[in-house]
Each structure stands twice: as structure tokens, then as C-alpha cells.
Amino acid sequence: MGNGGWEGSTEMEFEYLIDNELRKISLEKKEEGYIFTEGEYQSPVDIKFISPNILSLIVEGRNVRIFIARDSDIFHIYLDGQRFVVREPAAFEEDQAGGEGRSLEDDLNIKAPMPGKVIKVCVSQGDAVRKNQTLAIVEAMKMENEIKSPLDAAVKAVHAADGDLVDSEKILIELEKSES
């Protein structure tokens, strides 16, 4: 592309995850607007930035206003009355611990579902716990949320105490698989 920049025919490919689905698209910058390509589908798109957070798109006769905000590698997007989260695959992989692909390790390391204050730790090291037994109670924004055990297990270690302020990354309680 050399010093072509915006001029000429610059095509860029993008890989994004939208609703945990990997999509490959490309945008080609033309003198007037862009050409959007995804697999067999191709269409000219007229894209205008109204502000850093508002785009006006005219595509195949449709006129759409899109709201967008960026949080590091994640795009928060609102259009057609719905919200979308579009992220780069790398950001997704780092983040996957909180996603759908839960591993046994995730199940055994109990974290707070959101930042908050530990109201009560209901178990001690060495306790046997049943699935759905309440392990701890965390309060955020004045609502108490019970953290329940995802499986039958034993308490390996407790890393939180009543009154602690915790974020959603901190491991509160470590479980281990029961012997039986």
C-alpha cells in the first residue's frame, strides 16, 4: 500500500468474535465509502463517523445509526435496539475463564461473581460441601448474592474473611474433588 493510505484500494481483514462466534470480514476503502466482504457476501457500505461513538451507515438501502464504544480490545455496540459485544480473538482467549468453556479448575476456584464485600464466609478449610451449598455471601450495591458450590467437593483453602472487599478476579475459596 506504500503511501497510499486512505486513497487507492486498501483492503483490511478483520477477525472478530461476536456472541462467541468467530467471523472473518474485510473492508476495502474506496474513494467513496467502503466495500464490505464476508465469504460470498459483498456489499458497498457508506460509513460516516458522526462522533467517535456514533456511526451512520447506509448499506443496501438501509440507513442505520450505530453507537459504539471501545473498552481496550472489546467493542460495545448498539444498533437495531440490541447490544452486541465484538472482541478480538486474542482478548477472548485471555478472558475465556469467565466464559462458557468452564473447566474443572474454574469450578474449583471460587471467585466473586462481581466486585463487592464479603458478608459471610460460610465454610472452613476441610469442610465437605454439597453441590449448590452456599459457600459465601457477597454484597454489592446493597444486594446480597449467595455463592454456591458448583459441585460436591471439599474445601481446600479459604482466602477471604468476613468484611473483605474483593474484586471478581480474586479466588475466595479453593475446593478440591472429594475422595468418595
Binding site: M12, Y16, H76, Q82
Partner: protein, 502 residues
């Protein structure tokens, strides 16, 4: 009239009260916790005083700090908003002692109606219909167990000092009573600084209908008709409207008169709300008095044309009410949706963090009472209410479509909110027909998953992301000037594969 009022609250309600002060030429002083220095109410107030660390017990519930702040700025009156100290009789008494005017009922009335058990006894004596329940607050678990048995399951645990769903729980099985009481007490303590809870009979298939009342300091009391607040989640109101589809003119008049009587019996002054439960046979029961400005007060303002905050200030300053019952009319229909920082797709977990972008809806008949802005951080320490969206139209049907459209035009990016959920609630056929009970949400929205996203919409989202990626250094003000020479991903290869056709 007052020259300066201190607002002992935060968020959208503090903003609402500051605006009412302004309109009356009264200076408004804000208070804030260390977590709220950049909150909207602090930005727009004439003066602002830090009253302590982030936890509410150390700041917004700290009476000494608030009284000192009022002294410091020279305020003559304190408006407590809702929640926090708004129904705290000790605080009202403290204000009276300090010769600060508490904008709300006087401490004796507050004490009576705030003590839900004592107020029930008073109402029972005055012939106001009430729901069977405990006559006294108990200490021992055994007493609660006996009382629950006497009243008959299911029973409801309620916070003696509270409202707003905090500390409340329905117990169907006797085995759940003990843990329920423990949790209810903790929540009550955290929210109101008082852990007393009591039990009452839980009425099934009820509708929540409340009446707004205004009373001046000279015994003149009027009601401003009803609000229906049956759309609740975890006993927390989320959609409110006026008028109620459950009332006919006779029932409305009867309930309104009862509400007025409740306030007169209580010796109440200033603005307050009388809550009733209405059963399917149109029997109504007195629930409690909310001795404060309600979250949902705007729907009443829109149908009656009365500004309740301004009336509160007038009454507190010793003015007589300018209204007689006959000249308060209901006009059209108003609906309010509460916008919470909660994730409806993840069991309504609170969602703290930064609002990256906010665009409020506007247009005829739309009101937006808001405490947040693009770029603000939502702290974890307080109630997750962000804003209230209220619409007015000439009838209910039009108000519903206006609300759906307004919610559609309401954009908050960066944190999760209840906007999409509320849109589906208001659009639900049962809601449109007005056939609602307090079980509406659990009956129809237990497994709400949001609307299916079309491939076309997803594609548009992908185009938007790609365009934003390509334009991430876009600065609108420099679009035609030096911007051209700034590096953009279209020029700098970075991680992107350009010219993909090689």
C-alpha cells in the same frame, strides 16, 4: 423561603432535588463520599462537602458528618431524598434539635409510620384494613416461629425500618424461616442501620397500588391519586404507572380517602405515600406509609402537574398547601421504568464499572431523571439505580408505545443495564392489557434471554467494529486538517494483514 438547602443523598434523586432548588432560587449544597467526588450531583451543586469514606455507613448514613456539612455551608434545611436517612426518625430529631429543617415529616410522625408494627396497630384502631401479621418486633427465633405458625405460611419477612425491598423475603417452608430471618436482618442493618424485622401474611395474586399524599403543617391533607407498582423483581419495583388499570372511579375515591385518613391519623406532614395491596376481589389492605419522596414520584407529577419536590420545600418552609382535593385532577397516563446497573442475562447481578457512552432518549412526553453520564464510574457501594425514564401520553396505550420507543432510543454502553429487559416487559401482551400482579416478572420473565439477534444485525455490528478499528485515531474536529497525517491502522500495518488479496 429557604436560601440554601443541603441535599443528603446522591445519584439521580440528588440531581432532581438540586434542580428543584435552582428553580426556586435556592442554593443547593451537595454532600459526597470519597467514591462520589466525580458524581453528577457533586458537579452540578452550588457547593459540595465530602462527608466520609465510600461505605454508606461512614458517609451518607453518618448523621454527624451531614449535620456538620449543613453547618459549614450555612444551609437552613436538609432534603434527605429517598433511602439513606430519609425515614430515620433519629436524624429528623437531630435536625430539629440543631434547628435545621428536615424536609419531610416531623420526627414524631416519622417515628410512628416508620415503626411498621406500631403504625399497623394505630391503623387497626382507626378502622383501616390491614393484613394479618406480628403485633410486635421479637428478639428470639422461637417467637418468630410461633408467630409464623399463627399467621400461617406463606409469610413475609419485612424490615421494620425499611422499604424498597431491602431485607424482605417470602418464606413458604418453616425450615427456611431461620436462615431467611438472618439474611433479612443483615440486609436491613446494612441498608437502614436497624436490623428489626417482622412477619406478616403473604397475600397471593396481589396488586401493589399506592397513593401519593401531601400534607402541610396546618393539618390540610390532599391525595394526588394512585400509582400502580405491581411490576416488581425481588420485591423491588421496576415499572410504575398512573393511573392504575385496576381501579374504577368509586374504588379510587374510596382508597384516596382512606390514604388521607391514614395520614391524618398519623399526624403526618409533608409528602408521603400510603401503600396498599389490592387482591383480585378488589379488597385493599393498608401496607405501610413511605415517609419520603418516592423513587416513582415523577409519574404522579406528570399526571397531576404538581411538582412534588417543590411542594415538599414549600410545606417545609411553613407555607400552606395551595391545593384543595377538588382541584387535583388526573390527566393522561404516565409510566416510569427504573434503569438499574444490573445484568438481566446473569441473574441481575449488579454491574459496576465505567459507562463508556450514554445517550438519553428525548422527544415529546419523555422525561429522564438521571444521575450518571458518559465516562462516569459506577461504584459498588450503593443502590444500582442509574436513572429513571418516565413518559406521559394521553392514554395508556400511547404511553406504552412511547415508552418502548424511548427505551429503544436509550443507549448505555460499557456496563450492563436493565434497558433491554424493560423494553420486553412493557411490550408484553399481559402488560399491554393491564392484567398485572406483583408476580408478573416471575411468571413471564423468569427465563428471559433477550431477543434473537439476526445475522444482518451482527454483520452491521462487525462493520461498525472494523470501521472504528480503522478510525481509532479519528478526531472529528481535525477531520479536514492535520488528521490526514496521523498514523492510522490503514497506514501502519500493526497486527492487521492489509491487502488481503496477495
Amino acid at each position: 423561603m429557604f436560601k440554601k438547602i443541603l441535599i443528603a443523598n446522591r445519584g439521580e434523586i440528588a440531581v432532581r432535588i438540586i434542580k428543584a432548588c435552582r428553580e426556586n432560587g435556592i442554593k443547593a449544597a451537595a454532600v459526597y463520599s470519597e467514591a462520589d467526588r466525580k458524581s453528577l450531583h457533586v458537579q452540578i451543586a452550588d457547593e459540595a462537602v465530602c462527608i466520609g469514606p465510600a461505605p454508606a455507613v461512614d458517609s451518607y448514613l453518618n448523621m454527624d458528618a451531614i449535620v456538620q456539612a449543613a453547618r459549614k455551608v450555612g444551609a437552613e434545611a436538609i432534603h434527605p431524598g429517598y433511602g439513606f436517612l430519609s425515614e430515620n426518625a433519629a436524624f429528623a430529631r437531630r435536625c430539629e434539635k440543631e434547628r435545621l429543617i428536615f424536609i419531610g415529616p416531623h420526627s414524631k410522625a416519622l417515628e410512628l409510620v416508620g415503626d411498621k408494627v406500631r403504625s399497623r396497630l394505630t391503623m387497626e384502631k382507626a378502622g383501616i384494613p390491614i393484613i394479618p401479621g406480628m403485633k410486635n418486633i421479637a428478639e428470639k427465633m422461637e417467637v418468630y416461629e410461633q408467630e409464623a405458625k399463627r399467621i400461617g405460611y406463606p409469610v413475609m419477612i419485612k424490615a421494620s425500618a425499611g422499604g424498597g425491598g431491602k431485607g424482605m423475603r417470602v418464606i413458604k417452608d418453616p425450615a427456611d424461616l431461620r436462615p431467611g430471618l438472618e439474611a433479612g436482618r443483615r440486609e436491613a442493618k446494612a441498608a437502614f442501620g436497624d436490623e428489626s424485622v417482622y412477619l406478616e401474611k403473604y397475600i397471593e395474586e396481589p396488586r401493589h397500588v399506592e397513593f401519593q399524599v401531601l400534607a402541610d403543617n396546618f393539618g390540610h391533607t390532599v391525595h394526588l391519586y394512585e400509582r400502580e407498582c405491581s411490576i416488581q423483581r425481588r420485591h423491588q419495583k421496576i415499572v410504575e404507572e398512573s393511573p392504575s388499570t385496576a381501579l374504577d372511579p368509586e374504588l379510587r375515591a374510596e382508597m384516596g380517602e382512606t390514604a388521607r385518613k391514614v395520614m391524618e391519623v398519623s399526624g403526618y406532614n409533608n409528602a408521603g405515600t400510603v401503600e396498599f395491596l389490592l387482591d383480585k376481589n378488589k379488597n385493599f389492605y393498608f401496607l405501610e406509609v413511605n415517609a419520603r419522596l418516592q423513587v416513582e414520584h415523577p409519574v404522579t407529577e406528570l399526571v397531576t402537574g404538581v411538582d412534588l419536590v417543590q411542594q415538599q420545600i414549600l410545606v417545609a418552609s411553613g407555607k400552606k398547601l395551595d391545593y384543595s382535593q377538588e382541584n387535583i385532577k388526573q390527566n393522561g397516563h404516565a409510566i416510569e421504568c427504573r434503569i438499574y446497573a444490573e445484568d438481566p442475562l446473569s441473574n441481575f447481578l449488579p454491574s459496576s464499572g465505567k459507562i463508556l457512552f450514554l445517550k438519553e432518549p428525548w422527544g415529546p412526553g419523555i422525561r429522564h431523571d438521571c444521575g450518571v453520564y458518559s465516562g462516569c464510574e459506577i461504584p459498588i457501594f450503593y443502590d444500582p439505580i442509574l436513572a429513571k425514564l418516565i413518559v406521559w401520553a394521553e392514554n395508556r396505550e400511547k404511553a406504552c408505545s412511547r415508552m418502548i420507543q424511548a427505551l429503544e432510543d436509550y443507549v448505555i454502553l460499557g456496563i450492563n443495564t436493565t434497558i433491554d429487559f424493560l423494553k420486553d416487559v412493557v411490550a408484553h401482551p399481559r402488560f399491554c392489557e393491564g392484567k398485572i400482579t406483583t408476580h408478573f416478572i416471575e411468571s413471564y420473565f423468569e427465563d428471559w434471554q433477550g431477543r434473537e439477534k439476526t445475522d444482518e444485525s451482527k454483520r452491521l455490528a462487525l462493520i461498525a467494529a472494523a470501521a472504528a478499528e480503522g478510525n481509532k485515531t479519528l478526531r472529528p474536529e481535525k477531520e479536514s486538517g492535520s488528521f490526514k497525517n496521523l498514523p492510522t491502522p490503514w497506514r501502519t500495518l500493526g497486527k492487521w494483514r492489509l491487502g488481503g488479496k496477495h
